[in-house]
């Protein structure tokens, strides 16, 4: 079914990857929430491979999770394949390619979980990219396989799922700062590339606009979004794609290396002059990387060691600060193009036509709506914690947190809680558990732990965790499984970037556009660093 025949009515909701990313993301979030409210959880099958050090460990993990991998393959595969059919693609070719991609992603996940890779500090995102680049540049992937290389579709799905893990309050607090910082950097970068390209290298202003928007707003998608609005030459678009892609790949490795060096070990507080926090790293990448997928490759790599702070800061900066304004860039540049840039010689038969404000909505990346919707849904659920929640923890077990894993076996038979908390604490010897009514504060934990043995203290810490409905229930049973599925979407995407980036195909541009863009990079990267680590540092350090 041809795309041009689907341009009206409800078809619009099913004709682009943006909308399909929303539908798939919402389906996963819906399943997770229905399961949660029904007293179950999708966490049994929403899994990613664990760590291993020998083949026995690898075999055990694979055997334990193989059923879950099949379910994830089928779940994603059915929706992806159906949507590709609706969008007019060859489903057989897609399914064949998707199967290979999924198996490749599984291998990459396991490689990243190998202790050797942990020592080399290589996570699944960079591994997927490196392996993809090697394979894709040794031999071009066949045409049928390209049907499944949907970098944008996979990353958009991941971003919608990401919305479910990003509280609305964080968006409200840091969003305006992200917008201000992104606007400063975008304008400076765009103007730099534009003026260098037109004044120094005498390039066509529409070509300069395509290059500038690629560097300043949202990479290749930015170049394309304004390309039609300014009526750029086809070659301008092709060269814009090539230059932006080459720099985006270079910046993935550069920023990943720099930020890994600059974030203190274990995410400790910055001490040395060059130290930055994970939140600052995410914001810097969000300011200085050119494409969503490329930036997520960096912050997802950082997230393996530093939690979601880099991903959250990146998303605020890139998606909210930069991406959603692409329609406005297209509209403004379309006016500038007609008034100032059109060639006189084309006045006779060159293409012309109306560009209305509708272009703002037409070029708006709709998947962002899914991201916001997911955040709103999960924030509303989180804000309505049951008032009668009680924490229940075993007296013997393992306490796990990001930093600690501790076995304990406590005896509470002679334990006496402080009088002020006696009505809320009880010990059930028959079930071997301790119970606390309501959410335990840190101060209450301190009071309960005074005079307790070491094992009792670990059990009480576990009880405090269990008394927090958000952490022990909603996060553990609904949000964490969504994060695992998000990881699958991301790794599929990063593998696609590698496999579809053919440097031989991209190396078709002259040096002038490359130099012009490079000057923009030289402005963008340090400016992003200064704004993130000096001007707005308090906001980005607060991101968790």
């Amino acid at each position: 079914m041809a795309m041009s025949k689907q341009s009206n009515g409800g078809w619009k909701l099913f004709k682009t990857e943006d909308y399909w990313a929303i539908w798939l993301g919402m389906l996963i979030i819906g399943l997770s929430m229905v399961g949660f409210w029904a007293g179950a959880s999708i966490k049994g099958w929403a899994v990613t491979p664990g760590t291993w050090s020998d083949l026995g460990g690898l075999g055990r993990d694979l055997g334990k999770h193989i059923g879950a991998y099949v379910l994830i393959y089928l779940g994603f595969g059915v929706v992806f394949a159906f949507s590709m059919r609706v969008m007019g693609r060859d489903v057989k070719a897609f399914l064949a390619g998707y199967t290979l991609l999924f198996l490749g992603s599984l291998v990459i996940f396991y490689l990243a979980g190998w202790k050797v890779m942990k020592r080399l500090d290589l996570g699944a995102p960079l591994l997927a990219l490196i392996i993809g680049l090697i394979v894709g540049n040794i031999k071009a992937v066949p045409e049928w396989f390209k049907t499944s290389l949907r970098t944008e579709y996979y990353i958009k799905t991941g971003i919608v799922l990401l919305g479910a893990t990003l509280p609305l309050t964080l968006i409200a607090e840091a969003g305006p700062v992200a917008f201000v910082q992104a606007t400063i950097v975008s304008l400076c970068t765009w103007l730099t590339i534009y003026f260098v390209a037109t004044r120094l290298f005498d390039l066509d202003p529409r070509f300069a606009a395509v290059l500038g928007t690629g560097g300043a707003v949202c990479g290749v998608s930015g170049s394309i979004a304004v390309g039609g609005a300014v009526r750029a030459d086809k070659d301008h678009i092709a060269v814009g794609i090539a230059v932006v892609s080459v720099w985006a790949i270079v910046m993935i490795f550069t920023l990943a290396f720099l930020t890994k060096v600059m974030i203190p070990e274990g995410g400790a507080a910055p001490v040395a002059w060059y130290h930055i926090t994970p939140g600052e790293a995410g914001a810097w990448v969000g300011t200085s990387e050119y494409a969503d997928a490329a930036g997520f490759a960096v912050v997802a790599e950082l997230a393996a060691d530093h939690g979601d702070a880099p991903i959250h800061a990146f998303t605020l900066m890139k998606v909210i600060g930069r991406d959603i304004w692409i329609g406005i860039w297209a509209f403004v540049l379309s006016i500038v193009s007609v008034v100032y840039w059109e060639k006189k010689g084309e006045a006779g038969d060159g293409p012309a036509g109306r560009v209305g404000v509708s272009v703002i909505w037409a070029r708006f990346p709709k998947f962002v709506l899914g991201f916001f919707a997911a955040s709103i849904i999960m924030s509303l659920v989180a804000a309505n914690a049951p008032a009668d929640h009680r924490g229940v923890a075993p007296v013997a077990g393992t306490f796990k947190s990001k930093a600690v894993k501790q076995d304990y076996a406590a005896d509470f038979s002679s334990y006496q809680p402080p009088a002020s908390l006696a009505s809320r604490f009880r010990y059930d010897a028959g079930k071997g558990v301790i119970v606390f009514e309501g959410k335990m504060t840190l101060e209450e934990l301190r009071q309960l732990s005074a005079g307790a043995t070491v094992d009792q203290q670990w059990a009480l810490k576990q009880l405090r965790h269990q008394s927090d409905w958000f952490s022990s229930e909603l996060k553990a049973k609904a949000i964490t499984p969504i994060k695992k599925l998000r990881s699958w979407a991301f790794v599929l995407c990063f593998l696609c970037i590698g496999l579809s980036t053919r440097f031989k195909e991209l190396a078709t541009f002259g040096l002038k556009p490359f130099y012009a863009f490079t000057v923009g990079v030289l402005v963008n990267v340090p400016l992003g660093y200064i704004l993130t680590t000096q001007v707005f540092v308090d906001y980005w350090r607060a991101i968790r």
Partner: protein, 94 residues
């Protein structure tokens, strides 16, 4: 709202620019029940599969199937990347 064809041209418009701005009212129209715009022109390539072949590297970090590309396409008569609502004298019905 469209700012073109409303009669109020930007001050910066030179005579050449004015002719560009005014041209649509001359060229746009209906031919045998089909509007004379790129979307209906045989020179206009807007099929995502064809676009991904015409623009190598597009798949790596973007897509012809996303909203940022939308319904824009390549005019093979002018070798330009255009909105489907553009028009020109070389229009040929699909």
């Amino acid at each position: 709202m469209t700012w073109r064809g409303t009669g109020a041209l930007p001050k910066a418009a030179t005579p050449t620019r004015r002719s560009l701005l005014e041209r649509p009212s001359v060229q746009r129209g209906v031919e045998s029940g089909v509007e004379r715009i790129c979307r209906e022109c045989r020179h206009f390539v807007d099929d995502p599969v064809a676009l991904e072949r015409l623009l190598p590297g597009l798949l790596a970090l973007s897509s012809a199937q996303g909203d940022t590309r939308g319904d824009q396409g390549v005019c093979q008569a002018h070798d330009r990347f255009l909105l489907p609502t553009m028009t020109c004298r070389r229009f040929e019905r699909r």
